[in-house]
Amino acid sequence: MRAMISCTEFIPAYSELFKFIDRKSGRQAVYDYWRSNFDPDRAPVNQHLNKSGIRGCWDYWSHTLNEEAADFTMTLDEEAGYFRIDMHHCPSKGRLLETKHIEPFDEYCFHCDLYRLSVEKHGLVYEYDFSRTDKAQCSLLIYDPLKYQPQKEEVL
């Protein structure tokens, strides 16, 4: 039998999967799952980074964020050596917050931090601001430390 959970319902299934692992094996097991899932050997963003350097971030997130109908501003300055995403409304966290009959996994957004496994492998710095995830907002800055020095408050 082959059928499905629709890709439009993946996010609540993902959040519930984190909760299931947490109940069964504890929080570290959730982190281990994330690490496995975001392993650079299988991460599409790593393939884009291999191919195009920091522009690979633009290529990867252009595809995913448009398909996810996100509300965002994305900036790439290859000459200056940085890439950033300002997520005005995350479609994933937004859906979890709007689905009133389920409680999101309390660290749901933190799985996005695991993109750093691929990014740092390429000598880039990965900084994430998770301080506004209760509003389905976040910011991400990726930069080449040999070219770019962000202001301390830049990501916030």
Partner: protein, 155 residues
């Protein structure tokens, strides 16, 4: 090269990110390898009872109509309405999936479907049916095409 900026509102695009089928396949496989068959069924039945609570209530009130409406909505969202065929009698609702959008996507990407992927239908619908006092039975399946048939019955 000059700075490039992409600015998008949610309304600019349709919400259809098929890569999530790969994420679901990976997650189910991870649960299966870590917690076994029972773990997969436990996760999916927990998910069904929680996420599908409104659907379960709707089935209790509206019967087969609620299941039909849900399936039509999901397959329309997947741009796969033609893959879904529904047949009603007084006491049964039979669902025929001609080809599964998730399996089609996985195969197109060269991803092997997890051997536990079947449970995303079997366990979820069995749980919804049980909670809304319907019977549920898998009638047929085909691993390669994703063709499937299942039936709900009034108890």
């Amino acid at each position: 090269m000059a700075k490039e900026v992409m600015d998008r509102r949610a309304s600019d695009n349709k919400y259809l990110h098929r890569d999530f089928h790969g994420g679901m396949n990976y997650g189910i496989n991870y649960i299966g390898e870590t917690y076994g068959d029972d773990g997969v069924r436990e996760y999916l039945s927990d998910f069904a009872r929680t996420y599908h609570a409104p659907l379960i209530e709707a089935v209790k009130t509206d019967g087969f109509d609620a299941i039909e409406n849900y399936l039509k909505k999901i397959y329309e969202a997947e741009e796969a309405s033609d893959e879904l065929a529904l047949k009603r009698t007084t006491n049964t609702l039979t669902v025929h999936i001609r080809s599964c959008p998730a399996i089609n996507y996985l195969r197109q990407k060269g991803i092997k479907p997890s051997r536990w992927f079947v449970e995303t239908t079997r366990t979820i619908w069995a749980t919804v049916a049980e909670a809304s006092v319907l019977g549920f039975e898998l009638l047929a399946y085909d691993d390669k095409s994703g063709e499937a048939e299942y039936r709900f019955t009034l108890r």
